[in-house]
């Protein structure tokens, strides 16, 4: 737990002030690249985390379900990375982004990098992240950038289904046995510190929103909370009011302990065998 708490000690209201913020690789040709990298890294890291459930879920159908959701998210990331490489002046491809960047170069929120916890923890995270994604992708279908709007139009159909899936489980567990209710409620409380970061307006999102390409994360907050609240009500659960602490820093490359381990597992084949193809 201390690792997670320590990660929030970065002195940051401004992402600019964070150490590492200047180490974002040789990007900078397009002012949009940092924003799109945040979107892509969120789904790439969560795809990797979700895929851990295969062979570990409570039933084989759930192995398939979470594996399929991970696959959708991976596809969303793959659609964005080459585009980012084409506008940030580096010409990097999807493998360069996914397999050859170190922890400080990743721009995902802490929520998606946290260890998977128990099944209720994952359903709490999936519920929040999918609700966020539904609102985000809905807004991005109106992006002035054709690629971003196209990826969003595709992703929206997928994340609605993810939200459906998470909602079903949260209702089933919350409105289930006393034990499942207790554990689902505890999971809603454990995920809480990692939610605020989803809705922070950093410089990258302010820039992207100003150009009509992105959306301000803060503008999604109320609708996301409303979605999750309706599910929690149906599940006889209580959404906790607030957390005594919150994570931050992911959008500037300051991460919590689990990301390094996740990247080590995800990247080691590519790094051990540079340039290998099949």
């Amino acid at each position: 737990m201390s690792g997670l708490v320590n990660s929030t000690n970065a002195p940051s209201e401004s992402d600019e002030a964070l150490p590492g913020a200047a180490d974002n690789g040789p990007s900078g040709v397009s002012p949009l690249a940092p924003y799109l990298l945040g979107l892509a890294d969120d789904v790439m890291v969560y795809a990797q985390r979700l895929s851990e459930w295969m062979t570990n879920a409570p039933q084989i159908e759930e192995d398939m379900a979470l594996g399929n959701i991970a696959l959708d998210l991976l596809g969303q990331a793959r659609a964005l990375y080459p585009y980012i490489g084409s506008i940030d002046g580096t010409g990097r491809g999807e493998d360069d982004f996914a397999m050859l960047r170190d922890e400080r170069d990743w721009r995902n929120v802490h929520l998606v990098e946290q260890e998977r916890g128990d099944f209720a923890d994952e359903m709490a995270r999936l519920l929040w992240f999918s609700a966020y994604q539904v609102e985000l992708q809905t807004a991005l279908t109106g992006s002035s950038d054709d690629v971003v709007a196209g990826v969003a139009g595709k992703a929206l159909k997928e994340v609605r289904y993810h939200l459906d899936h998470a909602s079903l489980w949260v209702v089933r567990l919350g409105d289930g046995t006393p034990e499942s209710h207790r554990r689902m409620q505890a999971a809603l409380e454990r995920v809480l510190p990692h939610l605020a970061e989803l809705f922070d307006d950093d410089e990258a999102s302010l820039t992207a929103a100003g150009l009509g390409v992105g959306v301000l994360p803060s503008s999604l907050h109320d609708a996301v909370v409303a979605r999750v609240s309706r599910v929690a009500d149906e599940a006889t659960l209580t959404l906790p009011d607030g957390s005594p602490w919150r994570s931050r820093g992911g959008r500037a490359g300051i991460h919590s302990r689990p990301l390094g381990y996740l990247l080590a597992e995800m990247q080691h084949i590519a790094r051990s065998h540079p340039g290998a193809t099949w």
Partner: protein, 168 residues
């Protein structure tokens, strides 16, 4: 879809089976969006769209198209297009019938917007007929099936489990 059916190459490409559901062709599935054959230059530009963002069959389909073109002496340029996003409404009637014969319930009409009310309260989403006995007395076993595009159901009348092609 502007597929030139008068070209032998375009016809051959449109008849390529989907690698994961081989009873249906890529044209019947609605993922083949355009074939432009240049008979003089012996080149062909083929545009395909994925069913789901992460569909692992896309690369296999692209290389099969390139192979088919090569067989007939053409160089293929296979492009992936995301927008407009694929919908099961683009599936042809022939494709739906082929799925049905294979034991996969074809997709119903795609919902526009939310797939249902704000809160998921029930495990059964909509009426799906059993592809074997035709009974509409079926229930969902799992939200996701053997591929991203399918869910798993069971017929309460004949007791057979079956795949349902999800409407999106």
């Amino acid at each position: 879809m502007a597929v030139a059916v008068d070209s032998a190459l375009a016809q051959a490409i449109s008849r390529i089976p989907d690698p994961e559901v081989p009873v249906i062709t890529i044209a019947e599935l609605g993922i083949l969006r355009d074939v432009e054959v240049d008979e003089q230059a012996h080149t062909v530009v083929v545009t395909i769209t994925p069913t789901y963002s992460g569909c692992p069959a896309m690369e296999a389909i692209a290389s099969r198209i390139a192979f088919e073109a090569h067989q007939q002496g053409y160089a293929a340029d296979v492009r992936t297009q995301l927008s407009p996003a694929w919908t099961t409404d683009w599936m042809t009637d022939e494709g739906r019938a082929a799925l049905q014969r294979f034991g996969i319930a074809p997709p119903g009409p795609a919902a526009t917007g939310e797939s249902r009310g704000p809160v998921a309260v029930s495990l059964s989403r909509h009426v799906v007929a059993c592809p074997r006995c035709g009974s509409t007395d079926t229930t969902e076993i799992a939200h996701f099936g053997s591929t991203a595009c399918k869910a798993l159901r069971r017929c309460t009348a004949c007791l057979e489990p079956f795949d349902e092609f999800k409407a999106i």
